[in-house]
Each structure stands twice: as structure tokens, then as C-alpha cells.
Amino acid sequence: MSDIGLLREKEASKRRWMLLSPSLLVLVLFASGPLLIVLVYSFLQSGDYGGVVWNFSTQAWFNVVAEKDFFDETIKFSDAHLSIFWRSVRLSLLTTLAAIAVGFPTAYFIATRPKAQRDYWMLLIIIPFWTNLLIRTFAVMEIIRNEGVINSVLLGIGLIDTPIQMLYTEFAIMLGMVYVYLPLMVLPLYASMERLDFSLVEAAYDLYATRWRVLRKVILPLVKPGLVAGAILVFVPSLGAYVTPRVLGGGKQLMLGNLIELQFGQGRNWPLGAALSITLLVIVMTALMIYVRNAEKDGGQHG
């Protein structure tokens, strides 16, 4: 490479890193860096009044899944923790499936509107997405609580005598999460569907396919990238949800996020909280990497 070329490249590189420095500084200090601190804390001992004691210990990690019986020192799996993990995974998966069930037809509907309209339909989807998570959770709560709209209407009509307990159940949490994360399913699905070449669909009909077959064999494979993106976008935040389970689960139905918060509040076990956080992070990163792998394989199909 010519000398001039090398010099030019070095200057450009220097300028580039200078432009990036404020963002990188802020993000490393106040987003990525602290994650390392959490990792360190997960290997420390818990302090009596919260905080940590700077001794190395794997107690926290042990306690993520197991516990030692106080009296007879037997080691067994922590039922409480494991049921919370299971609930988190279960509810997140169900939420994702429900989001697909509702979101797929919706995205398809918007993608098949006349071009001029589509923007406005998408705006309708985007608006709830950018409103406060807490407000949306609260709105759901208002509807399903015992004094809420659904029960009042049903009682008023006379269909039931006593209010149906919907709040503070797993159903409530799931409903809330579907409500909150649904736009995240619709957006990437719509992006995929908008690019769908309907002449392919026409070709399928021309070749004697039924509507169901067309859906399964032509449309679904073509919008798979959007579907996978949407699934990840719903599953990941559901797994780490905190506000929605807190408000709608009422402290009885804990998810992983609530369990983590507990360790920094009443539980006063910071190392355990740290270990749980890292666990959540690892699960999320794994899911993301699977998605990236998947997306790279599809390669040129989807922009």
C-alpha cells in the first residue's frame, strides 16, 4: 500500500475513534462496565445488611439452583428458585406463542392494505409501543382486577355472583406481557411481509394449492426471518420482565426479574442477585446468538 494511502487511513481512523469516544465512554462506564462489576460481585460474600464482603465465595452461584438445609445440612435443589425459573421460561414462551397467534394475522392484515394506508396502520401499532410500560400494565390491571371493568360488567349483567379472580394470577402476568410486547412482534413481521412478493402466492394458487397450504408452504417460509426476529424480541424482554409481574403478579407470582430485585431489597443477598442477573444475561445472550446465527444463514433473503 502506498505511503500516502497508509497515512490517509491512519488519519481517518484517528478521527473515527475521536468521534466515537464520548459515546463509548458513557456506555462503557454506565452500561457495559458495571456488568463486569456484577460478575465480580457474584463471587463475593453477602454482607449482613446488604452490600458485599470482599471475600471470594461461590455461595451465591450455589444458591442460584440449590440450597443447604439449615438443620441436617443436606443439599437439595431450591424449589422456590427452580419454580421461579420454570415460571419465567414457561410464561415467556407462552407469551411469545400468544404474540405470534395475534401478531401474525395483524401484521399480515397491515401488509395487505393499500400502500397509502399502511403507514397509518403501523402508526397505530407504534403508538402503544412507545407509551410507558407501567401505564400499559396499569391499564390491563384496571380491566382485570376484581373491581375492574370486566368483573363489573359481568356482575352487572348478572352472569356471575362473585368477581372472577384474574389479577395476581399467572394468567394476569401473561396477559400483561402479551399486551406490552405485542408491537415488538408485529413490527419485524410486518417488515418481512411487506417485502413479500405476492406473485409467488399467485403462482402457488395457480398450481392448485389451498389457502392453508399457501400459508404453510409459501408465506410462512418467506416471512420466517421476521417471525424469528419477532419471537426473539418478545421472548427476551419477557424473560427479564420486572414491572409487569410485579404489578400484575402482586408479589405472589414471582418471575426472575422479581427474584433478582428481592435480593437487593428484603432478601439482602447482593451476590445472589448478581449471580441471578448474570444467569439471565447468559440466557438472553444465547438466545440472541442463536438468532444472529439463524439470520446469517438466511443471508441475502432479508435485508
Binding site: 464520548p22 458495571p34 462489576i37 396499569f138 371493568v149 402466492v201 400459508l215 438472553v284
Partner: protein, 272 residues
Amino acid sequence: MDSSTVPRKAFDVRRLPFFGGLAISCFIFLYLPIILLVMYSFNAGSTIAIWEGFSWRWYSAAWANEQVQRAAWLSLIIATSSALLATACAVPAALATTRGGGFKGFSVVFALINQPLMVPEIVTAVALLVFFSSIKVATGYTGIGYLVLAHTAFCIPFAYMPIRARLQSMDPSLEQAAADLYARPWRSFKTITLPQLWPGILAGAMLAFVISLDDVVITEFVKTAGQETLPTYMLGQLRRVVTPEINAISTVLLGISIVMVVIFHFLSKTRQ
């Protein structure tokens, strides 16, 4: 052939059975709770769900409530400062990553910038709690600096994305033409890039503002006792007595968000 038969509806390639109905139900599902929430903010009665007539009382109550006032003020200060800081960081970052093709370390930088979007909020919240608590112990500082810095960090990707999108849609040959015509890099930025970029910058700033205003989890963990933003205030209230005051505050926040989102949407429309 009898031509008086009703013309058969053309076979619509796009139509799938039940999809239309499901889609409409979805929109109703999305908006019904919000509409009800807004409606009951005007409820004259004090219980939610029993309508007792139209009234502004909850709005005036919220307005007069000192706690609400302080929380609103704090939310506003944090959102404004974070949006400004995040945008100031995001503009050069977008310039560095969008022009001149890939460079060594690009994927790492890109991942770093978008980290707040990939890492669950609770993990970041915990990390910041842990990080700041040691600083609090060391320096004794308990002001709003922590909140502003935390918000700035997670607002950066939200400011960055619209700016980058705008840059990408700009014709790169324009900047080449400017250089060809003797414009040095800074002047080229000022006279050519910036005038076309500013809608993206504005959109990014607005998005960052809304994101900061709406944040619950990180704020809840990072705040010191006594500091409340509107969302954390509401979260606290939800544990105690729930009055339509919450509805009123929610409606106001909703209004702000909706206005911002709509403006943002039209700002982001790339010129064809």
C-alpha cells in the same frame, strides 16, 4: 349465457380467512385498556370502574399534589438533560460508523452502542445499582447525577438509530461533491451534511426524551431515597391506594408520548 347473474367477487390472492377479524380484534385489544384508562381519569367518582360523571378533579388533584409536582419536575429535568447528552454523543457516533465503510472493531462498537437494547433492563439496573452504591459510599454524592448518567447511557442507542438511518439515506456523493469543491471536512459537515441531517437529529432527541421520560426499572433501582420520577411515583402508588389520580397522570404522559411519536414518525420519513 345469462348475464344477469351477480358478478362473482374476484379471487383475492391476499385474503386469508379470519385474518381480518383477528387483526381488528388485535387493534381493539391494544387500545381498549388505554381508552378505558383515559376515560376513567375523568371520572367524578373515586373508585375506578364505577362511572359517576365527568370531572377534572383528578387532574387538579394531581396538579396540586406536591409529590406529583416534584416528580414531574425531576422527570422533566432528567429527560431533557439525558436527551441532549445522548444526542450529543450519538451524532458523532453515527458519523463515525456510517461513513467510510466498515472498520476494524465495527461490530464490537455497534454491539456496545446497542447494548441497552439487548441486555434486559433489570440486569442493567442491578449493575448500575451496584456500581453507584460503591461510588456513593466513596464520594457521598447523592444528587441526580447518577440518574442523568444512567439515562444518557440507555438513551444513546435510541438517539443513534434515527440519525444513522437518516445518514444512510443521504446520497454519499453529495459529500464527495463538496470535497471536490474545496470544502474541508468541518465545513462540508456544516454546510452540506448538517442541513439534511437535522430532522434525524431532532427525531433522535425526541425519541431519547420519550424513552427517558417513560423509564421505570433503571430509575427505580438507581434513585436515591427521596428522588421520584413520575413513573416511580406511580409505581409506588400502585402498592397503596389506587385513585384515578394515577389515571390522570397516566393520561398526561400518554398525551406527551403520542404527540412525540407522531411528530417523530413524520420527521423520520426519508425524502424519496
